[in-house]
């Protein structure tokens, strides 16, 4: 998800860095990446307090909700995260991404549902750049492109 966002930002002529976390992470635990998008050269690829945080599960919420900048946007996968958000100085966007993806018939497209919602709210990149990016990343796998595109549009259409 972070990768396609960074890729799309570059396609649109912005500076972008994508920094994955790596290590001996267990599946279902936390696993994160940092994307920086800017109109200028990017100094630090590490963000002290990001403007946007997207959390896909409960452990990530616990770990990352305090990092977000005051006034920032927190996107949560409300299908998997049910607890209250303790911070009052940020806006929360709830996206039932997992259940939507399941309804679409492909639970793995959960990231794309979230991505659709994310760019609709943030306007960081345009949806058409993302769709073009999907097509080139998944060459020769047209059925996959279709699935992901559907998910993207579903998330985009949520708001």
């Amino acid at each position: 998800m972070g990768r396609s966002l960074a890729q799309a930002a570059m396609e649109e002529g912005k500076s972008a860095t994508y920094l994955p976390s790596y290590g001996v992470e267990v599946r279902g635990g936390t696993c994160n990446c940092t994307v920086a998008v800017s109109d200028e050269e990017i100094a630090s690829p590490i963000a002290s307090s990001p403007e946007y945080v997207v959390v896909m599960n409960q452990p990530s919420l616990v770990k990352f909700q305090n990092q977000i900048e005051s006034g920032g946007l927190l996107f949560v996968n409300s299908s998997l995260v049910d607890s209250q958000i303790s911070r009052g100085d940020i806006d929360v966007v709830r996206v039932p991404a997992s259940s939507m993806a399941e309804e679409l018939g492909n639970p793995k497209s959960v990231n794309m549902v979230m991505m659709g919602a994310f760019i609709k709210k943030t306007n960081l990149v345009s949806i058409s750049t993302l769709i073009d990016g999907l097509a080139s990343a998944l060459k020769n796998k047209e059925d996959l492109v279709e699935i992901n595109k559907k998910a993207l549009l579903a998330g985009y259409g949520l708001f």
Binding site: S44, P45, S48
Partner: protein
């Protein structure tokens, strides 16, 4: 493209013919890139060796017969390669070695660190020698410096080290390759290719006569003097009116730059010196900056190693403070900003 792959692609475009590696995180993408892309090229070789020791000695062999060769690893593996690096230096053979440094000592952590600065800049293995050490801080520089590393290695007949870290290797940024891969490079002169129509050649380091080895050392250090004169590189950022200069390299310099931009936004006159060659170190530049700026802050992802080079360069003509996080913990820009701000006011620089 991720940083590790960018090194691989740049190496191939620099005419690297042989890559010998051994898996270790966080540089596996480079080994995998070479397995996929170098091995299939005509006249080129990829081997996953049985150890880092074997890998560096394979590099040695390839260099002996005149090929451009490289290896890569991360901290524990680089320790094993020191044997070979010392022999390469002694035999005056070119080679490129990449260290995607991680937190140490021991197995440490696989996260980004700069704990191998001393090992990299002081020779690293046994004996009196140095290797050129390049310190990139972006994916573009990983690519550019890889090409430069091969050229420097050939120019000065010396091993060249690229000191990166786990974060740089895994990070993705746009990158532009400025060269096309050559068909085949000519064989380097002086290589062992069989004594056809010429006297036989010997590449060796051992001598029963200490005076021979002394002469080898003299000649190495004459060359090192030349390298110090010709090859120092660095970047400066907003130093002209700076009352405080942060000295940082590699990924730490990116973080520091983020912090400095914020410091500037709140009116603090802070600048940065980023050495891009760690050996030779830009000592001259440090002294030059000290004519206008008296306060220096060295920021490293270790317990303080480069700070010694800054202190040596200053010869007491400036005050040096240090901030660092070891073991693979990476500071965010606001943490560095807090350090900068505190120091700035402590030293009364706002006046």
């Amino acid at each position: 493209m991720d940083g590790n792959s960018a090194i691989g692609e740049a190496a191939i475009r620099a005419g690297c013919q042989c890559y010998f590696g051994y898996p270790i995180t966080p540089q596996n993408e480079l080994t995998e890139y070479m397995a996929a892309h170098l091995g299939k090229r005509k006249g080129c070789t990829f081997i996953q060796a049985e150890s880092e020791l074997a890998a560096i000695n394979m590099v040695f062999g390839a260099s002996v017969v005149g090929a451009r060769a490289m290896t890569s690893s991360s901290s524990p593996g680089i320790s094993l390669k020191q044997e070979g690096i010392s022999y390469l230096a002694a035999c005056e053979l070119p080679a490129v070695i990449v260290n995607m440094c991680r937190g140490g000592p021991g197995l440490g952590s696989i996260a980004a660190a700069q704990s191998d600065y001393f090992q990299a800049t002081r020779g690293g293995g046994h004996g009196d020698y140095r290797t050129i050490v390049l310190a990139p801080s972006s994916v573009q520089e990983l690519a550019d410096f890889t090409h430069r590393a091969f050229d420097l290695a050939d120019k000065y007949h010396t091993p060249v080290l690229i000191l990166g870290d786990g974060m740089l290797g895994q990070m993705m940024e746009p990158v532009e390759f400025k060269h096309e891969a050559p068909e085949v490079l000519p064989v380097r002169s002086g290589a062992l290719r069989g004594a056809k129509g010429r006297p036989s050649r010997i590449i060796k380091t051992l001598s029963s006569n200490p005076a021979d080895v002394e002469e080898l050392n003299w000649s190495l250090f004459r060359r090192y003097e030349l390298i110090k004169k010709e090859e120092v590189t660095y970047e400066t950022f907003m130093v002209d009116d700076a009352k405080l200069i942060v000295v940082a390299f590699g990924i730490a310099a990116r973080i520091a730059k983020g912090a400095i931009k914020n410091a500037r936004a709140s009116g603090l006159q802070v600048g940065m010196l980023r050495p891009t060659t760690l050996w030779p170190f830009p000592s001259q530049k440090v002294r030059e900056l000290a004519q206008n700026t008296k306060q220096f802050l060295v920021f490293e992802l270790n317990m303080g190693q480069m700070i010694e080079d800054v202190q040596l360069a200053l010869e007491g003509k400036g005050e040096v403070s240090f901030y660092g996080r070891p073991g693979g913990v990476v500071s965010a820009p606001n943490e560095v900003l807090r350090v900068i701000t505190r120091l700035y006011y402590q030293k009364g620089l706002e006046k």
